[in-house]
């Protein structure tokens, strides 16, 4: 199965990719919400989780989350938001829009692995 990392920073996608690989999943990447929706449309049967930054150009994380939750093919996918402390208000918006979990920057590799496990584990157990 695959996990989609949506972030305009290639470095962040690489950091998230390490945690994804640690858990034995393959990484898909998108640089913004528009890319993410296009990637999901092509791959949604293989994707089990979306990890998405809130602040991105073109279509930000909240807009993309709302679009995912409105799409019958995609709405079942758990979405974990990547936030910063200063995103507090937008994080609440994301939870209300259906985000399954969040991780706040700066985070450690272990923090991220545990958050992904908590998000996927909540569905499985």
């Amino acid at each position: 199965m695959k996990i989609l990392s949506v972030d305009d920073s290639a470095t962040m996608r690489k950091i998230i990719g390490r945690a994804v690989s640690m858990l034995g999943y393959d990484l898909l990447e998108a640089a913004n919400g528009v890319d993410a929706l296009a990637t999901l449309k092509q791959n949604f049967r293989d994707v089990c989780l979306v990890i998405m930054d809130i602040n991105m150009p073109e279509m930000d994380g909240i807009q993309a989350l709302v679009a995912i939750k409105a799409d019958p093919d995609l709405q079942h996918l758990p979405v974990m938001m990547v936030t910063t402390d200063s995103d507090r208000g937008r994080m609440i918006q994301a939870v209300q829009a259906g985000a399954a979990n969040y991780v706040t920057k700066p985070f450690s590799h272990d923090d991220l692995v545990t958050k992904i496990a908590a998000t996927l584990g909540a569905d499985e157990f």
């Binding site: 034995g24 402390d85 706040t104 584990g121």
Partner: protein, 288 residues
């Protein structure tokens, strides 16, 4: 923006909520644990302080929020073959009479419960002991064994079932020969071999729930769990485990957990420098 520090009243409210839902009893001076583990959830749920977070969880919270609180409060570190002697006791004292019964045709299976399996190190250590035992005992097969591994934390269970560990985790108590025999590398990650995984079933379980649906066990490992619980909850757990054990079944706890005065239907025994317990429901008066 970081949340304000927790007040004494807020601490007591959340402490009681946590004890009610997972049994963990936080003593005075543990407010920092709530602050470090629940601050993010509080902010995520739009609560300006711990008091309003408590009210949300208590009065309007979803089961998902309750589970996230429990998950955040219960994830703990663990080791391979922790304390060594329980695993020596298993191989040299507890398994032989049970496998003799198998060889005589008196039983088909040996069931072991790892009652708080965390991220998998304990059940995989048990599985390694079983495989080693089978290597030296003709006629005894891994398929004669079943390990049920439970935990209250979905994230811990997910990681346990994945069976993937980084080098730091591998260094914590795993002998080199066990690593070579039962793990294989996948880049920087070490994967548990399928032969160990096949012995284990993972299940989410809160020790507050009735244990009867889990079935009967020959051996229960419940280690470094009840140290966080109040005395009356410990008693409830050990009474439940006494009923979940087969007649004369065994319970293994950690050296810092004692059943004395709490569950006297268990007879304390020693082997290999460590303590373990045998259940004897026919002796309700106990072994004081």
């Amino acid at each position: 923006m970081s949340p304000d520090a927790i007040t004494t009243t807020e601490f007591k409210l959340l402490r009681d909520y946590i004890e009610e839902h997972c049994g963990i009893c936080l003593g005075e001076g543990k407010a920092y644990l709530i602050e470090t583990r629940l601050a993010g959830l509080m902010v995520e749920n739009g609560c300006p302080d711990y008091g309003s977070f408590y009210r949300l969880a208590k009065n309007a919270g979803t089961p998902q929020l309750r589970d996230k609180i429990i998950d955040a409060m219960t994830t703990n570190e663990t080791l391979w073959f922790r304390d060594t002697h329980p695993f020596t006791t298993l191989a040299e004292k507890l398994l032989p009479p049970l496998t003799d019964e198998i060889l005589r045709g008196g039983r088909f299976r040996i069931r072991i419960w790892s009652a708080a399996c965390s991220t998998g190190q304990e059940p995989y250590s048990l599985a390694m002991v079983i495989h080693e035992y089978c290597r030296t005992h003709p006629g005894i097969l891994p398929s004669h064994f079943e390990i049920l591994a439970t935990d209250i934390s979905p994230s811990a269970l997910f990681l346990a079932k994945a069976g993937r560990y980084d080098e730091n985790a591998m260094r914590r108590g795993l002998p080199d020969e066990m690593r070579a025999r039962y793990f294989h590398s996948d880049g920087s990650v070490w994967k548990v071999n399928e032969e160990l995984k096949n012995l284990i079933t993972y299940k989410k379980f809160n020790l507050q729930e009735p244990m009867d649906p889990l079935g009967r066990f020959d051996i229960i490992f419940c280690r470094y769990v009840t140290i966080y619980f109040a005395e009356d909850f410990k008693k409830k757990i050990f009474d439940g485990m006494a009923r979940a054990l087969a007649p004369s079944g065994h319970l293994v706890v950690s050296a810092v957990e004692s059943l004395r005065g709490i569950a006297d239907q268990f007879l304390p025994l020693t082997y290999s420098g460590g303590l373990y317990y045998q259940c004897d429901l026919a002796n309700p008066g106990g072994y004081r």
